[in-house]
């Protein structure tokens, strides 16, 4: 008996639930950007470790991306932002007024200043035991031996246990083996040349790794009024070609349209 398309769709949905979301108790928080949400099976997993790497020179943009993700995942709960002293000196301190302009409530942010990556990890693993927190962001500059697979395993386990999401924001660092749920690489997205209302927070976000789905490369915009990611208002937004991968590989991905 030939199965109707509806039956197949239903079965597929059941199957995906059983394999992907079955053992998974943590909720997925939609980013608001449809294509990314589709790749993430509904959104970013709460209670997991997510890594965000900044392209050199685009640190403020990466900060904005993590602030946006953390605010979405925390959903009104406080966010602990652990930052290394050097990041503050080199790239500037996080400004409450800046958060406010992004539509994020600065009074929900706690900033912890630490001297080095060891202290940051230590503080993070302590903070992860506090279920009242919504998210913990760890901002570290450079490569560190302590930020290894073991450290990421520990953060992942801690996050899964208390359902506090962890965001590891790395500046001047190359991705390495880790147990992160997702890994992003962020550069700034260009504003449309003819747009009068230019300067919206726009992220050229590449999802380098996704433990439970496919990767992707999109240009997202942050909607400061609704505190949600969205499609850039103009369709002219262009994804720049990645340097470290042949263009053909990127062309095969779903984002071919963006290059057209």
């Amino acid at each position: 008996m030939p199965a109707s398309p509806e039956t197949i769709a239903q079965l597929r949905a059941k199957l995906s639930k059983a394999t992907l979301n079955g053992p998974e108790k943590h909720a997925r928080i939609p980013l608001g950007f449809v294509e990314a949400d589709r790749a993430l099976h509904g959104g970013l997993v709460r209670g997991a470790l997510h890594e965000v790497f900044s392209v050199a020179g685009h640190e403020a943009t990466a900060t904005g991306f993590v602030a946006g993700l953390a605010a979405r995942v925390a959903n009104g709960k406080p966010v602990l932002w652990i930052r290394q002293d050097f990041a503050g000196i080199e790239f500037g301190e996080i400004a409450a007024t800046g958060l406010l302009e992004l539509g994020i409530d600065p009074s929900k942010f706690l900033i912890l200043r630490v001297a080095n990556a060891e202290e940051a990890l230590r503080a993070a693993s302590d903070a992860m035991t506090c279920t009242a927190l919504g998210a913990v962001a760890i901002e570290v500059v450079g490569e560190h031996k302590v930020l290894d697979l073991k450290a990421s395993r520990r953060l992942t386990l801690g996050a899964a246990e208390t359902n506090v999401s962890a965001f590891l924001l790395r500046f001047n660092a190359a991705p390495d083996a880790s147990s992160a749920e997702t890994r992003w690489q962020i550069r700034a997205g260009r504003s449309n040349p003819d747009d009068d209302n230019w300067g919206m927070p726009r992220f050229d976000a590449e999802l380098l790794r996704n433990r439970r789905g496919r990767t992707g490369h999109w240009v997202m915009e942050w909607n400061c009024d609704e505190a949600i990611f969205c499609q850039p208002a103009d369709r002219g937004a262009v994804v720049s070609a990645p340097l470290h991968r042949p263009v053909a590989a990127a062309m095969e991905s779903e984002e071919r349209r963006a290059f057209a």
Partner: protein, 494 residues
Amino acid sequence: MQRRWKAKNGAPSPDAPPLVVAAKEKNALVISALDRKATALGLSVGQPLANARAMLPVLKAVTANEPADVKLLGRIADWCERFTPFVSPDPPRGLLLDVTGATHLFGGEQAMLDRLRAGLAAQGFAVRGALAGTVLAARALARFRDGTVVPPGEEENAIEKLPIDALNLDPVTTHAFRRAGLKTIGQAAGRKRSELNARFGARLVYMIDAALARAESPISPRRPLPDYRAERNFAEPVATEELIRSTLTSLAASLGDVLEKRGEGARLLEAEFYRADGQVRRIAVETGSPIRDPKIVGRLFREKLDALIDPLDPGFGFDLIRLCATRAERAEMADADFDADLNAKREIRFLIDRLAARFGSQRILAFQPNDTHIPECAFAAVPAQYAEQTKIEWQKIRRAKEAPRRPLRLLEKPEPMSLLRAVPGSKAAHMCWRSAQRTLTHSEGPERIAMEWWRYQESPPARDYHRIEDTDGRRFWIFRDTVTSQWRVHGACA
């Protein structure tokens, strides 16, 4: 109590030369302290060193080190705090202890004095001590009748035979008394008050009154007295970490009971570790809200002890550990286990306290709005433990659907940059910052922000701010100083 000389290398040998300490006074070296042998040979305090050397060529003289003396006196005072929190230094060489209500803990007045003297003697100090109802009487007796304990109300009898020097007056007054034939305190006190007042002034009358317990002369303690405290003495000094931790937790429990009865909680807790060899170490933990749960107190101290740069060194062990609630506050601690919101708040406060104990309270910050439009002052990152609800509201600058008007990352100090027009008159421009050149695609401005003249004596120049975007899409917030025309980068937008 009087410290004479601390034997540096154990007890001095009998054939060592007489020792004096010389201090510079009016451009001459003068003896400021001396050992028993030197005293026996006829030297005295105040004698010029050259004079003494002429008398005794073998004399050994060392230069006085006043700061070190003050420090040492402070250390001895620390040690004395095991007997009473009321300890006050009486420079140059004395300490005053108010032991009211504390003597019974040490087996009575005589036993306490003996124990104090023995404890200090064991540390290598020459001690003199006395216990009396007034500060001046005790001080006079310590100097002239070492080891006396005066029963209440007997001060007059006890000190009337003492020479007038015992009042520690200035040399001129002492000399005047001698000239007048008044050699003892009793003789001086026997004169008519009006006579004394006319000859020596009201201050002297007050001093005699104070010595004889006719006037008050309180001791002011070195440090604020703790609101509550709990302590444990050990017959055998403890040195192991577990024992120290469990002691702290049990002290926290007994402190917590007291605090609970009074409906209070501690905001500042101090643990004091008294080492058997006289060293004292104090470790303080501050909290953002009143606490009294022993588990929380124990955890905070654990964090603090783990993070110490110079770890707690037990040496040969601690023989007294004390936990003080130095600052306690009224605390409403209704059981709110069912109120999820309150529980969450409490958890966050505990996390803040923990992080503050480990990293320092200046390192964990919360944002507060300020009522100003100067960008770097419009908000403050204040220690989260002290952050309070303010009446000022956060003010958005951007209107709905507009791009952000303020940068997400603000540089502590605006950094100089240069701006070049590609072609004169054209819109295209290059900025050069941190030795990298960028081509601009967008810019918007100026937004003039004037400094608030009422805050400054000489107001800094106004700034013209611009939002810019370069070819890579990076957005910056830059300004031009309206006086010097210097361009500076102030921050970067998301």
